[in-house]
């Protein structure tokens, strides 16, 4: 088992390295010239040359890549083009904020969706199952900002329970932070819950057709006993990997939500960077998001290996 896991982790690291090349390539070597793309058509050759030198674009691409990559490994993500600030200093507190929001949402979403999924599976075909199904289908198909604005309209404007803007400061207390970020956390929760819930329901139901489940029924156990004691442990593997995958989506879903609620996280920082065409900032944010995404995907696979006996002892 350790070998399988080790292989998976090494694979994750290789992926991350390949991703770093891709991010770098996408921003620097794609057809067209970054300097002229940023300065526009009206730039004179002299300004272009100066700008290229400033960006270091007059050196070969692989040299710049290696430099960028090793600096990033040492925790140096470069300097923002627009305001000349050190990116790491700006991004670290923002990254903490993003993690806080994502973790908050995950803490609500994971238990709720697993429990609701099991309830739906127990009551398969009944009203509650259909209701949960329809609601989760709807949250999958509507855009995230729709959910966000509906929540704001009701909870922030009409009933004034939560604030509509989630500006947090480092000095804020924990409870206050939880309260301020309640709406974005709820929105994120609704975004990722549907998928996890449906997967929990399907994995539990797919196991229900197994012979040992029939045996359990014939022993005289009730439906809920059979599901919780016999079906759930065997459905755990797919559920766990879906949860980890959804946490990876959570990290990305955060971008739009942060913009809606003006939450100071990496997502908003990245969107700002893209608007101002601040390449080092975009590269740094891209690397962080991709890193989190690859990391969570790797964790998902490792967990799946650890939970599934067949993968644990590969032939």
């Amino acid at each position: 088992m350790l070998k399988t896991i080790a292989v998976r982790i090494v694979l994750g690291i290789i992926t991350l390295w390949a991703v770093s090349i891709l991010i770098f390539a996408a921003t620097e070597i794609l057809p067209g010239d970054v300097a002229s793309a940023i300065l526009g058509q009206g730039a004179t050759p002299e300004t272009l040359a100066v700008f290229r030198h400033e960006l270091g674009l007059d050196r070969p691409a692989y040299v710049r890549y290696l430099e960028w990559f090793f600096n990033a490994l040492h925790g140096d993500l470069g300097i923002a083009m627009t305001n000349k600030r050190v990116i790491v200093d700006v991004i670290t507190p923002r990254f903490m904020n993003t993690l806080f929001l994502a973790g908050y949402a995950a803490l609500i979403a994971v238990p709720t969706s697993v429990v609701l999924g099991i309830i739906a599976a127990i009551n398969e075909g009944k009203f509650i199952d259909r209701f949960v199904n329809i609601v989760s289908l709807m949250t999958i198909s509507v855009p995230e900002f729709f959910i966000a604005y509906v929540l704001i309209l009701y909870f922030a404007v009409q009933f004034e329970i939560f604030p509509s803007l989630s500006t947090v400061f480092p000095e804020m207390g924990f409870i206050e932070k939880i309260y301020t970020t309640a709406l974005p956390a709820f929105t994120l929760t609704m975004l990722v819950m549907a998928h996890m819930l449906r997967m929990t329901r399907t994995s539990v139901l797919s196991i229900m057709s197994q012979p040992y489940i029939e045996m359990a029924f014939l022993k005289g156990l009730t439906r809920s006993q059979v599901i919780v004691r016999h079906a759930l442990p065997n459905a755990a593997a797919p559920i766990i990997s879906v949860i980890a995958l959804n946490l990876a989506y959570l990290i990305v879903g955060v971008v739009v939500i942060e913009v809606v609620f003006v939450y100071p996280g990496v997502g908003q920082f990245m969107v700002d960077g893209v608007t101002k065409r601040d390449l080092p900032v975009v590269q740094a944010c891209g690397l962080i998001f991709a890193g989190a995404f690859v990391g969570l995907n790797t964790i998902a696979d490792v967990l799946a290996i650890m939970v599934n006996p067949r993968l644990r002892h590969p032939r």
Partner: protein, 277 residues
Amino acid sequence: MKLFGYKPTATAWLGLAIITIFIVIAVFADVIAPYSESESVGQTWDDPSWDFLLGTDNIGRDMLSRLIYGARMTIGVALVTTILSFLIGTTAGFLAAVGGTVIDQILSRIVDVMLSIPLLIFALIILSVFGSSIVTLVLTLAVLDSTRVFRLARAVATNLVVMEYVEAAKLRGEGLWWIMRREILPNALPPMISEFGLRFCFNFLFVASLSFLGLGIQPPYADWGGMVRDNGKAISFGLPAPLWPALAIAMMTVGVNLVVDWILSINSRPSGASAEM
């Protein structure tokens, strides 16, 4: 009433109705819209009235007219993106399945790496370099989305390549392109069609999200995502202005999803079983 030999379910009819209405609106926007796309005709966020059925937006343009013109832009961009993405994705996917191990390995590994970066993040990175004109937007999204299409096309095609009739075509001496077009494509079509609907939904939401972030379709064109962004502040005054375009987006995706569900249920049904429905 039947469609392509199958009887749509009630929910499928609902979906078809929504899609048809939205497409008619998009095509005949000039005729239907009471005002023009960019003309200020009222105050900021006027209440709905007989003159402005859904009120006005942040700079006094008629909300309903903007929604009608927005349909053209938002649906159009998503549709073109999806078609392009399918052209690239299926061609590459079939090529990987038919063209031998080397081509397959090269294409698959490239796609693997591209899939390990979240789409939104990747799109943001590329748009930061090229800026977002409609052409770069469509091209970027199409190329990124085609990685998803590639996976399905390749999976479907690898199952078909081992069939006798493909073998026969190869022995006949038919070329790669001919085999892909005449043997693989017709047989791969059913799963690809429902995938088309799903990818359209995805791209549609994706374009809307990017526009909402201010990085998608740019003004003066009306588009639903951008309209949500423009009118976002109205919500803190308790005005529903940003909800109209957001609702339009939601309705469109729900409509397409309903139809896709129906198509999927046809495909999964054993052939002939539809006669009793």
